[in-house]
Amino acid sequence: MSESPRIVEVRKNILKQNDAVARALRDCFHSSGVFVASLVSSPGSGKTMLLEKILTLLQPQYRVAALVGDLATENDARRLARSGAPVKQIITGTVCHLDATMVSKALENWNVGELDFLFIENVGNLVCPSSYDLGEDLRVVLTSVTEGEDKPLKYPTIFHGADIAVLTKMDLAKAAEFDEEAAIASINAVRPGIDILRVSAKTGLGVKDFLNELVRRRERSAAFSRIAMSTQSI
């Protein structure tokens, strides 16, 4: 055995490469004036259906597009494309989450400056997507009434990293004997103070409220960017 080992300090975030790509994406999104929202949830909790509605409703006024991640198939991209918005499927193969590089690659031939809203639908998974920053302005976590009330307690990290929580499939609440109060308490426990919305993409319940919230957040973010830019130029 040679000499005793030397300790070399590193102090680097393990995902520093992802974070660097995400930072570059965020800068690019801000300077292009596009508001980026990502959607995370377990598989089958209604991300695609809600997003299809949102893309359709936003389009008369706003220029919108979407990226959607799945391990396989282009089914979700086809569903979202029915809205008439540009949509691109990211097929991750065996990877259980999107990362910033996948988003960056998917956007290579797109001019995001021509968009007002870009949506990123993550792979259905309540664990892994939470570790990866995608450069988005807003992260929306969805949980459906059929999943029970304690999902947030079981998967706190993903709820903790989100900016808005949406309870989906509210039209099934009664049939699923969904305890709304308990679900809201679970979300609040892991992410105190988060905005919680209730929607049913099927009946349209709450969809308008979600849409208004997106528009409001986009305006607020644009105002912040303007202030940031004006202070930079001083």
Partner: protein, 114 residues
């Protein structure tokens, strides 16, 4: 199961440092927050697989778990949380809390034979 991607990132970082110092890595010291969403056992076994055939093969992965700590504005005090299910203050029950630590995912240091 994103521990394998994390292990691969870890190996890239360690390799970069090893090349810079022209040394061989014998151990990696990592800090993992309880709220990081990374499972220690899964990371340890992914690491072995990911290191196979690289200059890092055979190095030890030493994980230090970082507890979840919040600041309670009601109590004006730091509190360590035993369970990660709730970020409410365990003493006064207030929801007016801020997360101070628990999301760490950091390569802190390397042991190297130079």
């Amino acid at each position: 199961m994103h521990e394998l991607s994390i292990a691969l990132n870890l190996i890239d970082l360690a390799n970069e440092e090893a090349q810079r110092h022209e040394g061989r890595v014998s151990a990696l010291h990592v800090k993992l927050g309880r709220l990081s969403g990374v499972v220690q056992a899964a990371l340890l076994s992914s690491f072995e697989v990911a290191a196979y055939g690289t200059p890092i093969e055979g190095a030890r992965l030493v994980i230090e778990e970082v507890p979840t700590v919040i600041y309670c504005r009601e109590c004006s005090a730091k509190r360590e949380l035993e369970f990660m299910a709730s970020l409410f203050c365990p003493v006064c029950g207030s929801s007016g809390t801020e997360l101070l630590q628990g999301k760490e995912m950091e390569l802190t240091s390397l042991e190297m034979q130079l």
